[in-house]
């Protein structure tokens, strides 16, 4: 028996019309077709393909990462995988690479936006990590990453590393029980554009590496208000770029952008 107080409240709040049957809800953003930028296909993780990846992702979270909470953030609703944080992106990338695909890099995303290959408005998504020092925020992860970077040569801050080149390791000492691992595919990109001094600067487009080219009258904004530690590089719902500290956060309007060379079957 439903709570009579809810029924009473609904009586007061209801619209006159009974809601019509919902249309099969599209992804919150409409895709342009064909989704090509050059010979690369950009899409959200959607349809049966997306569901298959999502199911495998959840199995891997339980099996390989002991159900780490920072990974248990994705959902499949309205026919699309929803949610985004750097940890989830890296694991998804591991799964996608088995299918000859990967999550989009900052550079790839910017190219896709330039060519209007995909409409990313009203969604947000991650694309990289920004390493600035061995301090806070995210000191543990920053120190761990710095040790790995140092083994490869000189370290110059700030360093931007696309998520598509990372692996993920379970580490019970880490605040999120996870650490980022460099791989042979990791790109280490010196990114002075992401210095705190450039916080709030405007831009319209990005360079070859996906980093902003500042213009006074740009329509997009860089939000880069940190000067230390490890941050996530993400694109927000109005296409601004941000480098923020809360690594594990994932919201409903987060989207994973998959890119595949050539075409793949759509469902």
């Amino acid at each position: 028996m439903p709570n009579p107080r809810l029924l009473k409240t609904a009586e007061r709040w209801k619209n006159k019309e009974i809601p019509t049957e919902r249309e099969k809800k599209q992804s919150p953003v409409k895709q342009k077709t064909p989704l090509f930028a050059g010979n690369v296909d950009y899409s959200f993780l959607e349809g049966n393909f997306g569901k298959g990846i999502f199911d495998e992702y959840n199995q891997r979270v339980s099996k390989d990462y002991q159900g780490a909470s920072a990974l248990s953030v994705l959902s499949f609703a309205d026919n699309v995988v929803k949610g985004s944080n750097p940890f989830a992106f890296v694991l998804l990338n591991k799964i996608l690479t088995q299918q000859k695909m990967r999550v989009a890099t900052p550079a790839g995303l910017e190219r896709a936006l330039e060519k209007e290959a995909i409409n990313l408005r009203d969604t947000y998504g991650d694309s990289g990590l920004v390493l600035r020092s061995d301090g806070e925020p995210n000191e543990y992860l920053a120190r761990d990453l710095i040790n790995q970077v140092k083994q490869r040569g000189n370290l110059q801050y700030p360093l931007m590393i696309p998520l598509a080149g990372f692996d993920l390791k379970y580490d019970s000492n880490s605040p999120h029980n996870l650490t980022f691992q460099l791989t042979d595919f990791s790109e280490l990109i010196y990114a002075p554009q992401l210095n705190k001094t450039n916080h709030s600067k405007k831009f319209n487009r990005a360079d070859k590496q996906g980093l902003p080219i500042f213009e006074d009258n740009g329509s997009r904004t860089l939000h880069s208000n940190e000067d230390g530690g490890l941050c996530r590089l993400f694109r927000d719902r109005v296409l601004d770029l941000g480098a923020g500290r809360v690594l594990a956060y994932s919201g409903d309007y987060g989207r994973v952008i998959v890119c595949a060379e050539g075409t793949r079957a759509k469902n």
Binding site: P2, T9, A10, S75, A77, V246, Y249, S250
Partner: protein
């Protein structure tokens, strides 16, 4: 026949008079396009709905002063009386000094009787430097603050709700934390802010608070103190105090102050009660309540459980503890009072979203992670208030706020409500489950599912 002045105009007249002549301040609060000073506005609303307000700030920042002016002009009591009956907090303050003491004369004759402190007998109250009393003694004033009921020995006085102001300095070696259960009994908290250089230069020239003379009346104050010390019953004392108020009202009128009669105040209280919420305002309130009190992981929010973001970074994941029924009542009372003051027929979304942070910030214990995420940001408010305003509003790029989530999910929630309202319970349940997305959707849907399933 002269047009009758609206009660709102009288109250605004008092607000303006205090703000322009006595408690000089800057506007830092906006509701429906109109600007106010938060401390003065919340103080005014506290007078209207007989609430409890905490005033935070630096030494000499005007906390006590603002409360004294408010209590004086809104209650027709001489300012010197208000100052005389206020309690000044200190570590040695006992129940006997705050609430009541045995009647020593009668005690020697073997009789038990209570002499109530002036603080209890007078209507509107001020407790200065409240956090200088130790935590163990704070419990003594719990009931009085909450219900207007004061107990000593086997006697009690029930004053009913009365405006209550408590001032607190920011943490230093001389003060203590306030216990959470007491914090929850304060409807609203504000900061008495630096009023700006120009206002400060003006205040500095007021040698010995000369301006206060206009609100003071030493003769009436002496008379009032005699009444308060007379040992007469509470009811008789109130009747005699009322006569003093009427005398003082006459003086205030002559000095150009709008005056609120007892009848005016009763009418205001009734009118405020009758202001309804519009649908957006009430639904936002429902979303806020859901985010503060539910937990997909632990069934509900509890102070003994850690904050968990496992099912999404909703407000519940950002603080330890839970909402309380008192704070929800405070939001309703203060939002209605503000809508009434702005002479609007309904409480709208702006009233709720602007008022709610001031109701919640002193009650919420943010997690260290949340504090860390906001600590370095540029801001105008104390950190806790800043976090509360941000997380109840649109939020940040990384941490969207309750209002943003409300805007995103309201359409789906309304669909569920429409289905329920038209009797399609099964369909409503099905859609609520879809929107709940296995616990990762908005907590309002989880809660609605429980209501629909009769759990």
């Amino acid at each position: 026949m002269p047009k009758q002045e609206k009660l709102q105009d009288k109250v605004r007249g008092l607000y303006d008079k205090i703000g322009s002549e006595f408690y000089l301040c800057r506007d830092d609060f906006e509701s429906n396009g109109e600007k106010f000073n938060s401390a003065l506005l919340m103080g005014t609303l506290t007078e209207l709905n007989k609430g409890n307000m905490l005033l935070f700030g630096e030494y000499g920042g005007g906390k006590t002063t603002s409360a004294e002016y408010l209590n004086s002009v809104f209650n027709g009591l001489p300012l010197d009386l208000i100052k005389r009956v206020a309690i000044r907090g200190n570590p040695q303050l006992t129940e006997e000094k705050m609430v009541g003491r045995p009647h020593y004369g009668k005690m020697h004759q073997g009789e038990e009787d209570v002499v109530w402190q002036h603080f209890v007998l007078v209507g509107p109250k001020i407790f200065d430097e409240f956090n200088r009393i130790p935590e163990s003694n704070q419990a003594v004033v719990l009931n009085g603050v909450d219900r207007g009921e004061w107990n000593y020995l086997n006697d009690f006085v029930s004053t009913g709700p009365q405006p209550f102001f408590a001032t607190c300095n920011y943490a230093d070696r001389g003060n203590n934390g306030l216990i959470p259960s007491l914090l929850d009994r304060f409807d609203v908290g504000v900061e008495s802010k630096f009023p700006g250089v120009a206002n400060t230069l003006h205040i500095a020239q007021d040698y010995h608070n000369d301006k206060d003379k206009i609100l003071s009346d030493p003769k009436l104050t002496r008379k009032a103190l005699e009444v308060l010390s007379s040992g007469k019953s509470y009811e008789e004392t109130q009747k005699e105090l009322e006569q003093i108020v009427q005398l003082h009202d006459g003086t205030l009128r002559e000095r150009g102050f709008p005056v609120l009669s007892t009848g005016d105040k009763e009418k205001i209280e009734q009118e405020i009660r009758d202001v309804p919420f519009d649908r957006d305002a009430e639904q936002y309130f429902a979303f806020l309540v859901a985010e503060m009190n539910t937990s997909q992981k632990y069934g509900q929010k509890r102070s003994i459980d850690p904050a968990s973001s496992e099912h999404g970074l909703y407000l519940q994941a950002a603080f330890v503890g839970s909402g309380s029924r008192r704070e929800e009542k405070s939001i309703v009372r203060y939002a209605k009072s503000l809508a009434w003051l702005q002479d609007q027929g309904e409480v709208n979304l702006d009233h709720v979203t602007q008022v709610a942070p001031y109701i919640l910030w002193h009650r919420i214990k943010w997690t260290p992670e949340t504090e860390q995420a906001f600590r370095e940001n540029d801001r105008e408010d104390p950190l806790d208030l800043y976090i509360t305003k941000t997380t109840l509003g649109d939020g940040t790029n990384e941490l969207p706020g309750v209002k943003k989530r409300f805007v995103e999910s309201q359409e789906n929630y309304q669909r569920v409500i429409d289905l329920v309202g038209h009797g399609k319970i099964d369909k409503a349940l099905q859609e609520a489950k879809e929107y709940a997305a296995d616990g990762k959707g908005h907590p309002i849907f989880q809660d609605t599912i429980k209501d629909l399933e009769g759990r």
